[in-house]
């Protein structure tokens, strides 16, 4: 390879390394931000769970419309991915989990509806001919947005249009590990709820122990106004919002961590490439010089004799 070509390759590597390094730094900052946001959401989850733990003991809990299990003839899947790629196997993992779950349920495509959050999810399901009822980008997660998604899910469930609502998202285990997770959000069951709460109280984070303690606290006797049923009716949709909000946060934190790691390995790789290219460059240059020197000395020898 000619010297000039190698030189331009090294330059190109340098440029892409600058880009991947910048993306890594940006993702790291965004990751910290989204983890902070997750911490903020805990006060709400904590309060809702503590209210629920006062009222959930009763038989009433499993007899409400939102908690009654029905035989499944149609299902709604909320699938959360990122808008952009370059985040390793993050999105494909979630999408694969969702598709596998749909296939395992034995439901046909025409009875499965999808709420796709994130461009990757909506592209994926639209291309495969699923019925995408709502899609949104992830760049601004607001309480209005959560409300819309939750209201849609609850409405469909209560009207009987779907008998099951599930949510698929990448759960952040650590910066290096994100696990695609599937949860049933409707009908609400106590078991599933406890799983989600234990997700919200992960091994990481500062507020962990406080939350665990408060849910274990001795139950005081509460007076309930106006009635247990009405309180449950008010609090159950809120629990669904917590599910969804929590999934969105996890997904965001996962996205940024995954991208940070992906970009880090890209930067490392670019560095390695630069090194090996520089080595090659020097070898070729050395060879050219040696050749020139031997040509000159050869010429001199010829003239002298």
């Amino acid at each position: 390879m000619a010297l000039k070509q190698i030189k331009s390759k090294i330059l190109a590597m340098k440029k892409s390394q600058t880009v991947t390094k910048a993306m890594e730094a940006v993702s790291a900052a965004k990751m910290r931000k989204s983890q902070l946001k997750a911490l903020n959401g805990r006060a709400y989850a904590k309060a809702a769970v503590s209210v629920l733990s006062r009222v959930s003991g009763s038989r009433l809990f499993s007899s409400l419309p939102l908690t009654t299990e029905r035989s499944v003839t149609a299902a709604l899947y909320i699938v959360i991915t990122s808008d952009k790629g370059l985040a390793g196997a993050l999105n494909s993992g979630v999408l694969r989990t969702a598709v596998a779950d749909i296939q395992a349920s034995g439901l046909k495509k025409d009875v499965v509806s999808i709420i796709a959050v994130g461009k990757k999810a909506s592209d994926f399901f639209e291309r495969r001919g699923f019925h995408v009822v709502h899609h949104a980008n992830t760049d601004h997660i607001s309480s209005e947005f959560i409300d819309t998604v939750v209201r849609q899910a609850i409405q469909r469930f209560l009207l009987g249009a779907v008998d099951l609502v599930k949510i698929a998202y990448p759960n952040l285990i650590s910066t290096f590990e994100q696990r695609p997770t599937m949860r049933t959000i409707l009908p609400l069951t106590l078991g599933e709820l406890q799983k989600v709460v234990s997700d919200i109280v992960p091994a990481r984070g500062v507020a962990t122990s406080a939350l665990v303690e408060s849910t274990k606290k001795v139950v005081q006797s509460y007076s309930l106004e106006p009635s247990e049923e009405e309180i449950l009716e008010m609090i159950l949709p809120k629990l669904v919002s917590i599910f969804v909000y929590h999934a969105l946060l996890e997904s965001q934190a996962s996205e940024h961590s995954a991208r940070m790691v992906a970009m880090k390995s890209a930067s490392d790789k670019a560095g390695e490439m630069q090194e090996s290219l520089t080595l090659k460059f020097n070898k070729v240059r050395q060879a050219a010089i040696t050749r020139e020197v031997s040509e000159i000395t050869g010429g001199m020898e010829a003239m002298a004799s």
């Binding site: 959401g41 309060a47 809702a48 997660i141 309480s143 006797s221 007076s223 309930l224 106006p226 917590i242």
Partner: protein
Amino acid sequence: MHLVIAKVDEVLFEGEAHSLTVPGTAGEMTVLGEHMPLITTLKAGELRVHLTVHDEPKIFPVEKGVLEVRRDGATVIL
């Protein structure tokens, strides 16, 4: 009493307060410290929080929500 007012995605208020007035479904009510434990639903209106006895109240609009009162404080989730 320790008061927390939280929405799903943000904490609107957290700290010590003197009293909290809420539009309960069963009528407006004011909660002071050492109130008996209570859970009640809220209807549309506004929350008024007094940090001290005579100050201007902080006002938070509410559409619906749940109030939980414990011996050591109160939590409103909107």
